[in-house]
């Protein structure tokens, strides 16, 4: 079975993805990362975990099941997140990414990590 770093490297090889990070959902700390230089991984991890936790609570309050995939959209790129147990898999992608393909890769990786 692939380790977290191998899974992140594979995910980061998807065209358009600039990097990925595995975050502890509880405290937003980095567990493993595969990021391009210049990206503040710690800040991204903390914010992505916080957003994911907030949406998890909101969906629970709305009587829905837990989020399985989140996408923060912006004109110059997107942040993708897939909760997996006590961890959150986060990927940063440019505007040229194939979100559908990235989503499949992330859900696959999240399933293995969970």
């Amino acid at each position: 079975m692939s380790g977290p770093v191998e899974l992140l490297d594979r995910l980061s090889s998807v065209r358009g993805i600039r990097g990925s990070v595995l975050v502890s959902a509880a405290d937003g700390l980095i567990v493993a990362e595969s990021l391009m230089t210049g990206v503040d991984g710690r800040a991204v991890a903390a914010l992505a975990a916080s957003l994911t936790n907030r949406m998890r609570r909101a969906t629970e309050c709305a009587g829905r099941r837990e989020p399985v995939f989140l996408q923060l959209q912006a004109p110059s790129g997107t942040v993708l997140a897939a909760p997996c147990g006590e961890l959150v898999l986060v990927a940063i992608a440019g505007p040229d990414v194939n979100v559908g393909l990235a989503r499949l890769e992330m859900l696959n990786a999240a399933g293995r990590l969970a």
């Binding site: 800040a43 909101a58 989020p67 996408q71």
Partner: protein
Amino acid sequence: MSDDIRGMTAELAADPESLVFLDLGEALRRRGQLDAAYKVMRTGLARYPELARAHDLCARILCDRGEPDRAFEAWVTALQFDAGLVSAHKGLGFLYYQAGDLASAETHLAYAAQADPDDAGSVAALERVHADRRAGGQADSGTEEASAPGASAATSGELSLSAGPPVRLSASDRLPASPPLTFSFDEAAPSPADEAVFTGLDGGADGLLLLDANGLRLGGGLRDPDGRDVADEVAALLAGVSKEAARTARLLSLGEWSGLAVECGDGNLFLSAPTDSTLLLTVRGLDVPMGRVARFADRASAAARVWLERGP
């Protein structure tokens, strides 16, 4: 103590900021543990002083405790934060009726009945007030003594609330001799304003929720799969999401965030920001693909902007 109450108490102890205090307060009220329910609500209101639904529940507890004066104050406060809250109008209608102010009772009950024509309780109560006014002949001329100086009713059905002293309410000898009027406060119907934002769009009362930066509902509505109104709780939980999303996008030099798509096991949610200070939540089932949810959210955002510019 039931398992539900025990569970909610534990949840609240673990997370004092949780909105579970609303459910816990209601559960305790239904069990007749009014002092405990009141204590829970006071603690919750200290954290969420602008949550209309919390003031409304507090009023119901006070009503059950036989404190109509304080219940009146709590309902007036609830309407200051949500002028269209139907249950607060019903409560005030009930109290005004008890005080013998049939004109004010009629105003509040008419609003409640108009907002939710399917609520047999409001409709029947309004008919009862009409009948009493006809029988007693005490239309407008006899209302000054008991009317609340802190609340005046506009002809449009919306309340214009001033900060006047609360009325002293008591079961006076002016109370009609007919059988007591009873109300059920257990329904949670959307107010007309809730749906007005998204007029013409599917989901104006359930599945489209517009909130401000503080997590307070501006319009729309949201119900869980069991039909329970969860709009206020979800709105409160979403407060601050806009700032976090903006910070994340800015940190990564992605530009202004335009949407947050959330895929759940049983539904699709889409968050967008119609304006800098508002947030729109669109909720649909899995049968609606995320792409369509996002396009629908765009239309709802446009409607929200028009509504915000025009003024509620």
